[in-house]
């Protein structure tokens, strides 16, 4: 099959080079710029490597690189560290809530009659196809002080003062749980659906009551789905920007928002890069975990 080697090479090389150029190389550029300084120019940072300038110019430029942005970001005086911690906290709590909400739904879907399962699956996926921005936006009208939720609650007589929901961390949790829910349900569902139901019958036959059977049989067998779903929600949630920006308050700190502010309001590309590099370092372990799960799922035989 030596003749088809060239085709093979092309099939691998085209996507490989594309991703190397547009996914891998940019990280090195981000790292380099995180070591540079802001200037009012185009591009708004220096040094700019001018390869035509020869070795001396490059060495000179290399000498200008330093870790000043990192000491700025990592200083307790600036709120970045708090934002990292708060992002991890918000993402972790949201992921836990997602699991709590998503697991019963996925479980019920997997145990539903076979004939309606595709329909249920479509109903879960459908919101995912509609715009993320729209779904977040829809909560503004619900959570605002004069919003639909407060109207509903006061109509019930449950409250006499409107609840402060919009622009709080609670709203951020609701937003994240709402928009990430399909990402949690789908891996859970595929893990639970694969499960052989006769296992539970065998457990019952051997004298195990249903709740114990759930913890001893169903839950351990669904763990791959649990891990996949949690990572699929946790990692992007840490860097989430739109949800805290639209639903969170001024005291809701998330690192994605800080990065965006640094980039678009303060116009400091170098600090934004340093924030991005540090965020990537924080996320590298869960990302590698996720990749292993994904790889095992796709290639595990």
């Amino acid at each position: 099959m030596a003749r088809s080697n060239r085709e093979r090479w092309l099939v691998v090389a085209i996507p490989y080079l594309w991703l190397a150029a547009l996914f891998l190389v940019p990280f090195f550029i981000v790292f380099k710029i995180s070591l540079s300084q802001d200037v009012t120019a185009q591009p708004p940072y220096e040094p700019v490597f001018d390869l035509s300038g020869g070795w001396d110019v490059i060495r000179d430029a290399l000498g200008q690189l330093n870790f000043d942005n990192y000491s700025y970001v990592l200083s307790w005086d600036n709120e970045f560290l708090m934002a990292y911690v708060s992002s991890l906290k918000i993402a972790a709590i949201s992921t836990f809530l997602l699991l709590l909400v998503g697991y019963p739904i996925a479980y019920a879907m997997a145990r539903a009659p076979k004939s309606i399962r595709p329909t249920l699956l479509m109903l879960v996926i459908l919101p995912f196809w509609t715009s993320f921005l729209i779904r977040v936006y829809s909560w503004i009208g619900i959570l605002s002080p004069e919003g639909l939720l407060n109207q509903f609650l006061s109509w019930l007589g449950a409250i006499d003062q409107p609840l402060e929901l919009l622009n709080t961390d609670t709203a951020v949790y609701i937003g994240i749980v709402y928009s990430y829910l399909p990402f949690m349900i789908l891996p859970l569902y595929s893990a639970l659906e694969k499960m052989d139901e006769t296992l539970l019958e065998a457990a019952a036959d051997l004298g195990c009551p249903p709740l114990a059977a759930f913890w001893k049989i169903t839950w351990p067998l669904s763990l791959p789905g649990v891990f996949a779903g949690c990572l699929l929600c946790f990692i992007p949630a840490v860097g989430e920007f739109v949800i805290p920006d639209l639903l969170g308050g001024s005291d809701t700190m998330m690192i994605g928002k800080s990065l965006w502010t640094e980039f678009s309001v303060n116009r400091s590309w170098t600090v934004a890069s340093a924030v991005a590099v540090l965020l990537l370092i924080v996320l590298v372990v869960p990302i590698v975990f996720y990749q292993n799960i994904q790889q095992r799922q796709m290639e595990g035989r």
Binding site: V12, I14, I105, P127, L133, E197, Y290, M298
Partner: protein, 275 residues
């Protein structure tokens, strides 16, 4: 046997789907609100839809978005399918771990990192930012989603189908086009649809990589949303939701009908009625 579909399960599904759909439904309902105050019902009206037609900015943005989504989804489908073939068919090749890492990482990478890094790349190579930089950025992150969709179809693909074609004298490249591609086509099409909607949907990466003159619909919606809820935004959201719903539901009805036909034929064949 199927006594497992208990009250608990029904409750979980009802509550779950209520949570998923009520916000969207409210949004749709209030797009027909005659009152400008979005939280007070002032009677039925389609006024805001007509207003949309006069909003050139929004229409322009929609047109840019559609073009970006169409081009990027199409290129991403080609690249993602190639990547899926490379990952499922070529076993271990040099740099495979890096390759699969570059495929799976963008699926979870926070948008702000992807957006910023692509922007800095475009600046570093002095590429004029605008329509094409958004398109390139969208190709890059959506091709990974296409790859995963196609890959999950390819792992269950019976390779002896390709071997049979080779065995009957069909060269490899032609085998791909007459055997492999037609069979995996549904996965490729849903990969394309996924890439298309992801591109339509993207705000953060587009905001980073855009330049003067290229504003996408999410960017336009976002800048208006920050100023507060307006019925016009509800109206445009409703239109987007309607389009997506019609496409997704009709696609799934078509596949469902094919599946039913297929099962019927298989049952008849198994019962020997057709012999």
């Amino acid at each position: 046997m199927r006594k497992g579909f208990s009250a608990f399960n029904v409750t979980a599904l009802v509550l779950g789907f209520t949570f998923l759909y009520v916000p969207i439904l409210l949004l749709v309902i209030y797009s027909f609100n005659a009152s400008r105050l979005v939280t007070v019902w002032g009677g039925f009206s389609t006024e805001w839809y007509w207003k949309l037609l006069e909003n050139d900015q929004l229409l322009d943005a929609a047109w840019v978005t559609l073009r970006v989504a169409f081009i990027s989804a199409s290129v991403a489908t080609v690249l993602g399918t190639l990547a899926a073939i490379a990952l499922t068919r070529y076993g271990r090749f040099t740099g495979r771990t890096l390759f699969s890492g570059m495929i799976y990482a963008p699926l979870v990478m926070p948008d702000v990192i992807t957006g910023l890094s692509l922007l800095l790349l475009f600046v570093a190579v002095n590429f004029d930012r605008g329509f094409w930089t958004i398109t390139l950025a969208h190709i890059t992150f959506t091709m990974c989603f296409v790859c995963v969709v196609v890959q999950s179809r390819l792992v269950t693909f019976d390779r002896s189908l390709e071997e049979a074609a080779l065995d009957l004298g069909c060269p490899p490249l032609r085998t791909f086009f007459v055997i492999t591609l037609p069979i995996i086509l549904p996965a490729v099409v849903s990969g394309w649809m996924l890439a298309f909607t992801l591109s339509l949907d993207d705000l953060v990466i587009a905001s980073f990589t855009t330049g003067p003159g290229a504003t996408t619909l999410p960017m336009r919606i976002y800048s208006q949303v920050r100023l507060g809820v307006t019925p016009e935004i509800n109206a445009i959201c409703t239109i987007l939701i309607a389009i997506v719903t019609v496409v997704v539901v009709s696609a799934s009805i078509v596949t469902k009908r094919q599946e039913i036909e297929r099962q019927k034929a298989e049952r008849l064949a198994a019962a020997g009625v057709m012999e």
